[in-house]
């Protein structure tokens, strides 16, 4: 009896999924655009992320060992020799690839793709094989080599909405999934089907003084990101690897010399 019920629900759901437009109506595709023309490399996003997502402060020694945890980092590149030197920088965070190399790697499904187009990481499920980090071409996955602690009274500022990770667990940018969840819950409470554009603002986007970053749902053609993405300056990092990232960078425009 029960089995029959389950089966009919399953069939019903499956029919719904097959309906054209179902995914556009119910699912999101969270996307970020970063305008490198506006980015000043001030690292406000790095600090904001640290505060929002309970990132541990690893200390000088472990920083020197290349074991810092920064879900978003500013990469600096130099071009040319000293007098005629040009510097460029690019904020690098999890690209939430649609064809993510890290997702096939995990033997226990600790990292997987959710309906919102997010590349999620389940800390409690992670057994620490670190394969995902090896497979990641952007090197934006960070491993908890130790259990980190916060000195008094810093533990008071931990965000209660975000898990504090223990040793042996992989972590990375979540696009502030706690804020996405909150916005979705609010939308549900207001009897709205979808989250409004601009309702979800990740910590890095919120803190950007030059508004170089935009975040939203690219399934919604009216959203700010959808318009920004169409900018001819847009490109994705390491496009030739065909990972189809969810972050679109807008190229820095150079004056014609």
């Amino acid at each position: 009896m029960k089995w029959g019920n389950d089966l009919s629900t399953f069939v019903e759901k499956f029919r719904q999924y097959l309906k054209p437009g179902y995914y556009d109506e119910f699912d999101y595709h969270w996307t970020m655009t970063i305008d490198l023309d506006r980015c000043t490399g001030c690292e406000a996003c790095v600090v904001a992320c640290q505060a929002e997502n309970n990132l541990p402060i690893v200390g000088e020694k472990r920083y020197a060992q290349n074991r810092e945890i920064k879900w978003i980092r500013i990469e600096r590149y130099w071009e040319g020799e000293y007098p005629d030197v040009k510097m460029g920088f690019i904020p690098m965070l999890c690209q939430h690839c649609d064809a993510a190399p890290c997702e096939i790697a995990c033997p226990v499904f600790a990292t997987y793709h959710n309906q919102d187009g997010l590349n999620t990481q389940i800390y409690n499920r992670c057994i620490g094989t670190r394969t995902c980090a090896v497979y990641c071409p952007y090197e934006v996955r960070y491993f908890n080599w130790f259990t980190y602690t916060w000195d008094e009274p810093l533990e008071q500022q931990l965000n209660p909405d975000v898990t504090v990770r223990e040793k042996g667990v992989m972590e990375k940018c979540t696009f502030c999934i706690q804020r996405i969840r909150l916005a979705k819950d609010n939308a549900k409470d207001d009897d709205r089907r979808r989250v409004r554009d601009g309702e979800v603002v990740p910590a890095c986007v919120q803190s950007c003084p030059t508004e170089a970053m935009a975040f939203g749902d690219s399934n919604d053609p009216e959203a700010k990101v959808s318009k920004m993405m169409k900018d001819p300056r847009g490109y994705t990092v390491l496009e030739e690897l065909n990972t189809t990232p969810s972050i679109v960078y807008l190229k820095k425009a150079h004056a014609e010399s």
Binding site: Y77, A105, V108, C126, T131, Y135, F143, W145, G168
Partner: protein, 441 residues
């Protein structure tokens, strides 16, 4: 076949069983040493690492895999020759296999166990390792069968099971021989171990076809296991790892280092267990020829890997290649080429192939080369991935080095225990090679 004259049936039993039944103080001293080395060098640092976190090892961002994983591949590789070689030689009916195969298979078993330990050491949260097995659970969670690591779990457990059964099945008549030669508790134990073997024609017939069946079954399994291990690397898109050649490269390298390992083990058995009568020139000569063939294939694949990387011309691949050939670990790379491609060429000369001491040195050099090969694969590709900003460097910490040393002690301990529980040379198959109805000389 026999360098020192053919032994009689009774002598075969006596020679081989005496190793099991008579234990001197030297054995206990050796066992005590290896066990304490294993505890001090392997388990104590591991325990420390469990408490502190994997950060105790030298790995860092963008070198997330280190010596643990390279050692895992090394031990899996070492396991490859035993069962595979034994099965192939059984099917091709090579008589020289018979006095070598039992220890070779034991080597397979114990290096697989050591390799499995390295997986445990590698994991960040080893206490949840059972999550990587498809065990139905109340969380309704299932492992990810797309993951090459999951293939690994499947392949290695299958290989471990199959090679355990293979070695056990081949030992049943010998367990009966132990039972007949002993008294008391040992007699009762071996009565169980040998399933009450009586040696009837029917039993021999059943054993014969079952053994051949398993030999056929094990060969593709062994090939698949190391291919799958190579896919841990090759299925990534990391420059320097993402090569189609990796599966044959790893399988060939595995059989190569495994065969060299057999030579080392044979030397020790001959020297310390007085098996000169049974392990002779013919074995050394054949293993030497096999090693030459494998080393040539190995060199060819290496050249091919370099060529296809250069010919492909991808800037990421070329950067990784440059780091491998001229970077910090370049001396290790050239050492590997010397030990695995050039030193084995000496075996073309009979002078080297027929001398136990020279072969011992060559076989150990090959395995040092293979150990470095795996280390280079892990340590030179990850620090040169795609984004130059994240280029890094990996150097093993003292904990990793100590655990590497300890793993050899674990292998030795297991082997020492093995020679007291199972006849290290197949008694009944050695007898098959004797000329029948021979009176005592």
């Amino acid at each position: 076949m026999f360098d020192h004259g053919q032994p009689s049936y009774a002598e075969v039993n006596k020679d081989i069983l005496s190793v099991m039944l008579e234990t001197g103080p030297r054995y206990w001293m050796l066992l005590g040493t290896t066990m304490s080395v294993a505890v001090i060098f392997f388990f104590m640092p591991w325990f420390y690492q469990l408490i502190v976190g994997v950060g105790a090892a030298g790995m860092n961002r963008n070198a997330y895999w280190g010596t643990y994983l390279s050692n895992f591949i090394f031990w899996i590789g070492l396991s490859h020759s035993g069962t595979l070689l034994s099965a192939i030689l059984h099917i091709t009916n090579s008589p020289w296999r018979k006095s070598v195969y039992r220890s070779a298979e034991a080597m397979t078993l114990f290096s697989l166990m050591t390799a499995a330990l390295f997986v445990m050491v590698h994991l960040g949260r080893v206490w949840f390792v059972h999550w990587s097995f498809p065990i139905p659970n109340q969380m309704g969670l299932w492992p990810n069968f797309r993951s090459p690591l999951m293939f690994d779990v499947m392949a290695i457990t299958t290989y471990l099971t199959a090679s355990s059964i293979f070695i056990y099945m081949g030992s049943v008549p010998d367990f009966a021989a132990v039972r007949d030669a002993s008294t008391g508790l040992r007699r009762r134990l071996y009565t169980i171990f040998c399933f009450g073997w009586r040696g009837t024609a029917r039993e021999w017939h059943t054993l014969g076809w079952a053994y051949t069946f398993f030999a056929v079954f094990v060969i593709p399994l062994a090939v698949s296991v190391h291919s799958i291990v190579s896919w841990d690397f090759a299925l990534s898109i990391v420059p320097g790892l993402h090569h189609t050649i990796f599966a044959p490269y790893f399988v060939c390298g595995a059989i190569y280092s495994g065969t060299a390992g057999i030579v080392t083990v044979m030397y020790c058995l001959r020297k310390y267990l007085n098996f000169e009568r049974y392990i002779g020139q013919v074995h050394l000569d054949n293993l030497g020829k096999l090693l030459i063939a494998l080393s040539l294939i190995w060199s060819y694949i290496n050249i091919l890997e370099l060529f296809s990387t250069w010919y492909g011309g991808s800037s990421f691949e070329l950067e990784a290649l440059k780091f491998k050939l001229t970077g910090f670990y370049a001396p290790l790379y050239w050492e590997m080429i010397l030990f695995c491609a050039f030193v084995p060429l000496l075996m073309f000369f009979r002078k080297f192939r027929w001398s136990w001491n020279k072969m011992l040195v060559i076989s150990i050099l090959i395995n040092i080369g293979m150990l470095t090969e795996r280390f280079i694969i892990v340590a030179t590709s990850q620090p040169r991935k795609f984004l130059p900003n994240a280029f890094g460097f990996y150097f093993p910490s003292w904990i990793e080095i100590s655990i590497t040393i300890g793993s050899f002690a674990i292998f030795a301990t297991l082997f020492l225990i093995f020679i007291k529980w199972v006849p290290a040379i197949s008694i009944y198959e050695v007898k098959e090679t004797l000329k029948p109805l021979r009176r005592d000389a």
